[in-house]
């Protein structure tokens, strides 16, 4: 059923495309919001994702890889959204500013506060954010990411390590 919809959309069937969009708009928005941390940018990125997908559909060779293909478009759309909006960045207070940046548990281990994490995470380039979100939120495996990015698994591991290290560094700087 899903494959059929993807194939029909790829062939220019707008009704099929609309079914696919309606089924994924919330999840794509969730991913975009997690990456960008801003509702307005996330909405732009979500819209751009589906418009780009429609335009790029004829180039989708394997309908089975639709999800991974769409994930890559989400990353690109987030990058474009940030580039378009780079002149402004908002940090909603939401009562979170008064929380401690780091809390210490009984063993002396530090737990990262939400505000600190968000500030550090949003220091990362979009590609690194998207990779971390794809792996740790969307649950995409190294194999899937390697296929999606058209790179060897080792490269994915390396990129994940680099992104984690960059986040760690940003956390320490922000803390």
């Amino acid at each position: 059923m899903e494959r059929s919809l993807v194939e029909r959309a790829r062939d220019g069937d707008r009704d099929a495309f609309e079914v696919l969009v309606r089924a994924r708009v919330d999840s794509v928005y969730g991913t975009a919001f997690t990456i960008l941390g801003n509702a307005s940018d996330a909405q732009d990125a979500t819209q751009e994702t589906f418009i780009s997908a429609w335009r790029a559909f004829p180039g989708l060779k394997d309908p089975e890889r639709f999800e991974a293909w769409l994930g890559r478009i989400v990353s690109n759309a987030c990058r474009m959204s940030l580039r378009h909006r780079r002149t402004i960045r908002e940090l909603p207070m939401d009562g979170s500013v008064d929380e401690p940046a780091v809390t210490i548990d009984g063993s002396g281990a530090a737990t990262i506060g939400a505000d600190l994490f968000d500030r550090a995470f949003e220091k990362l380039p979009i590609d690194q954010r998207a990779l971390l979100v794809a792996h740790h939120l969307d649950g995409r495996t190294l194999d899937e990411l390697a296929s999606e990015l058209a790179v060897p698994i080792g490269t994915v591991k390396s990129r994940l390590f680099t992104a984690r290290a960059a986040l760690q560094k940003a956390l320490e700087a922000q803390a």
Partner: protein
């Protein structure tokens, strides 16, 4: 104490927390789906040339409803307590770009209006020209000043006694067009000389972000310098020129003369487009886009004529100008490329005061006339925010005030005062320092119920002040914005 460490568990938890905040309202969801649906109905990538005849117009009819609806909603006042307009308000970046380019329906309206209006109109429209339409046509294909027919506008209604709306073009455009019979479509810059006479000024080249406006700086437009004569770019900024009577540095250059009506002429006198309205300069600012000297008198809205004997300073004029590359083949071993202004999209929008930049208004067949200036004391009003840096004079030399925040974020509370129309919103840093802000182009301050909201170029409300005794509930990080202290 151990430094905070990220592990798989904490990463997943933080991402889940962030994702949990992603609540798409039903109205936003519907608007988003409508925009995607409208865009997919267009179903075209904006190629410059295509072998097929026009098929954009049908889609444009579908998208116009969305564009008009969002344009109206973008002007809706803020809700109680300075809250955001309804969730369905405010076009997205994509739709706002479309809103600045006429759809075929809007182009039709502009054509219809031209039957009653005197004078030319220059617009950008998402349109198509069928170049097969003039094949076998009887009568002259070329007219005065080397303009020749190149085809007919697709999807628009011709005058009652004609079978089509013919399009003509000058030699610059024609020489760069593909062979006849090939459709031309995309964002077309069109001069409407009358109901029956439309001239293609060029295909509008989008900027790097895919939008319409290029920045008013020499480096900002350098990426388009290789464009051919059939392409134009749109630049919104201040057009000014030196006084011809105090021109200096005149010399006779060797070789053949430069192309006429080009920035290579001038003998020291110059015209330029810049991001600010500094006047009285003796030469073009280094960062500005140099254009032909006659551009000011030909294309600036309401150009000022400098009187002989005066200091000759002209008032810079703010507008959206269309620019085409002009080549000086005699300029050294490699060709020199510069810019020629060929049209103005904005009608009579010089700045209301030297310190405020007006929002550009595209000529549009269906756009409403500009709203009257709001009263600062009105319960609901829209004020223009400053979008250009402050300049002051040091020993007679214009100097831009110090800008910070470009690299180093400035944190603070957003404050505002509706009684200060010159600068209704500013940033108060934690140490009490007050910072003026250079806002992105198109931002406005919306005043309602004693609160001030800042709306971006799409009409979406951004950080806002709250009309209660508690501090403003938004912080503004201007890590990428020019934030300038007072000069």
């Amino acid at each position: 104490m151990k430094s905070p460490q990220v592990d798989d568990q904490s990463l997943a938890a933080h991402f889940a927390r962030r994702a949990g905040r992603a609540k798409l309202t039903a109205a936003d969801r519907d608007r988003l789906l409508a925009n995607v649906s409208a865009a997919s109905a267009q179903s075209t990538i904006r190629w410059k040339w295509g072998p097929a005849a026009a098929f954009l117009p049908l889609a444009a009819v579908l998208v116009v409803g969305v564009v008009i609806a969002t344009a109206i909603l973008a002007r809706a006042p803020v809700g109680p307590n300075g809250s955001s307009p309804s969730a369905s308000s405010g076009p997205t970046a994509s739709t706002s770009a479309l809103g600045r380019v006429l759809t075929t329906v809007e182009l039709q309206a502009a054509l219809d209006a031209s039957a009653f209006n005197q004078g030319d109109r220059t617009v950008i429209a998402d349109a198509s020209i069928d170049r097969t339409a003039i094949h076998g046509r009887l009568g002259p294909l070329c007219f005065a000043e080397s303009t020749c027919l190149i085809g007919a506008l697709s999807g628009v209604r011709p005058p009652p006694d004609r079978s089509e709306v013919l399009v003509q073009a000058g030699p610059d455009v024609r020489s760069a067009l593909p062979s006849s019979g090939t459709a031309v479509f995309g964002w077309l810059a069109l001069a409407i000389h009358g109901r029956e006479t439309v001239e293609l000024l060029g295909v509008v080249e989008p900027n790097a972000a895919g939008d319409l406006d290029w920045p008013p700086s020499e480096t900002g437009v350098s990426g388009a310098l290789e464009a051919d004569g059939a392409h134009v770019i749109a630049v919104t900024g201040w057009l000014a020129r030196t006084n011809m009577y105090i021109a200096y540095d005149c010399y006779i250059r060797p070789g053949s003369p430069p192309p006429t009506d080009s920035p290579f002429e001038g003998c020291g006198a110059a015209a330029w487009i810049a991001s600010d309205s500094t006047k009285g300069l003796l030469s073009a600012p280094f960062t500005s886009i140099k254009v032909q000297l006659a551009a000011y008198s030909s294309f600036a809205p309401d150009p000022e004529v400098a009187a002989i004997g005066s200091d000759g300073t002209v008032e810079p004029r703010f507008a959206t100008y269309l620019l085409r590359v002009i080549v000086d083949p005699n300029c050294g071993p490699t060709q020199c490329r510069g810019w020629r202004v060929i049209g103005t999209l904005t009608s009579a929008t010089s700045a209301p005061s030297p310190s405020l930049s007006p929002s550009p208004t595209l000529t549009s067949g269906t756009s409403a006339p500009p709203s009257p200036a709001p009263s600062p004391t009105a319960s609901s009003a829209v004020l223009t925010l400053r979008t250009f840096p402050v300049w002051h004079e040091e020993n007679g030399i214009p100097v831009e005030c110090d800008a910070i925040g470009v690299d180093n974020p400035v944190f603070g509370h957003l404050e505002g005062d509706p009684g200060r129309p010159q600068e209704p919103v500013w940033l108060r840093a934690s140490d009490g320092t007050r910072f003026s802000i250079v806002w992105p182009e198109g931002f406005t301050a919306v005043i309602a119920n004693g609160a001030i909201a800042v709306a971006d170029e799409t009409g979406t409300v951004r950080p806002r002040t709250i009309p209660t005794t508690r501090p403003a509930s938004w912080r503004l990080a201007s890590s990428h914005r020019r934030t300038s202290a007072k000069g």
